[in-house]
């Protein structure tokens, strides 16, 4: 792949054509906060935490869905970016019901970690406190809409890796909900193979193993990489 050169945080660096800005930035050792991005899944550009400033664009662009191009001038940190990122995390916390103290994922939650790293010590917005349900119909797994941030990692892993596309999003805006098949309970879903991939990639306490109590839901961040590597090497073909 042809090599391209771009300026990131005042430094000239090189990348390969076809890479996203996020890939180039990470290869260069700069860390950006991300929540919807996951190595091995298609990019969604939904959480907007990876926003960067690109010369010529009046508004910040998500690094994960912006292709790296020759000559780009990019800034990954600025007061404006930090400010927007912090607002985004605060809005995620305000939109549903995040009671970390009683959450299955406390201590292992990506949203919680990202918020702390950004210095979010309180939320400026009014909590919406929507009355949301849980789907505990599946034999082994549970879905708690109260903790979902709509990153769609579950939707993508089920569609792109497991290949069955059980999950989707219904509704718009704050009314958006993760649904199984055409809005059935998880147990009644005709497609779910109970592989558990969605549970492992979910960054929050929204998808969990039944029986996990407060703080017990530890996700396996290497699961997806192992599956992809195994497929690459045809480990399971017989």
């Amino acid at each position: 792949m042809p090599v391209i050169t771009l300026t990131i945080d005042d430094e000239l660096i090189s990348g390969r054509e076809g890479e996203t800005l996020l890939q180039v930035i990470k290869e260069h050792g700069i860390s950006l906060p991300t929540l919807c991005h996951m190595e091995g899944l298609s990019e969604r550009g939904g959480c907007r935490l990876c926003i960067v400033e690109v010369a010529g664009s009046p508004r910040p662009l998500p690094a994960c869905t912006t292709p790296a191009r020759e000559g780009m001038v990019v800034r990954t940190r600025s007061e404006r970016l930090e400010n927007y990122r912090r607002m985004l995390v605060e809005l995620m916390l305000a939109e549903r019901n995040h009671y970390c103290a009683v959450c299955v994922s406390i201590g292992h939650c990506e949203l919680q970690r990202v918020a702390a790293e950004m210095g979010v010590d309180h939320v400026r917005y009014e909590y919406l406190s929507p009355k949301l349900t849980m789907d505990l119909s599946h034999e082994r797994f549970g879905l708690d809409h109260n903790r979902c941030i709509l990153c769609t990692r579950c939707v993508r892993v089920c569609d792109e890796i497991e290949g069955v596309h059980t999950w989707d999003i219904s509704g718009r805006g704050v009314k958006s909900r993760i649904i199984a098949d055409l809005n059935r309970s998880w147990r009644e879903s005709g497609t779910c193979t109970s592989c558990g991939k969605c549970v492992q990639v979910c960054p929050t306490g929204a998808l969990f193993l039944k029986g996990a109590v407060v703080g017990e839901m530890v996700k396996d961040p290497t699961m997806l990489a192992r599956v992809l590597e195994g497929r690459e090497k045809k480990e399971w073909e017989g």
Binding site: L93, N97, H98, Y99, C100, A101, V102, C103, I106, G107, Q112, R113, A115, A116, E117, G119, V120, D121, H122, V123, E126, Y127, S129, P130, K131
Partner: protein, 181 residues
Amino acid sequence: MELIGSGRLRLATVWLGGCSGCHMSFLDLDEYLLELSQAADLVYGPFVDAKEFPAGVDVALVEGAVTNRANLAMAGIIRQRSRTVISFGDCAITGNVTAMRNLLTVAETLDPFRCDGEASPAFDYAAVPQLLPRALPLHQVIPVDGYIPGCPPGPDRIRAAIECMLRGEPVHLAPGMLTFG
């Protein structure tokens, strides 16, 4: 911070709509409490026999959400009489467990406590403060100067925050000390 009065920090702690876990964690400061007693006077709090929130407080650590009328009145008094107000723990900062009732209306929240499903309220509101429509984080009611997250915040966080205040600096905690829950 220029200290009012004797040059010692006049410290108050307040227990609003919380479970007192933050105060228990405060006691977990163990021997640091002795050091703290050299630099500060605890002028009000659940551990102190003072009936009224005094004037001229340097720092007030406030535990709990603002969930009823008494909390609301107290929040106003705290703000009036304190130079620095710190939200102490998740309930004060986010509403947390106290605010779980916000998914329901006040009537729905109180229903299980009514006698035999009778319409007459089990609570005598002359004695029990009336619930606000929603339990609120302290900073939605009065201006707040600093935050100590955690449910409860560990003694390391409380100590780090107190040390900031003793140095006269705003409360600033490292990311590792900022997680909710």
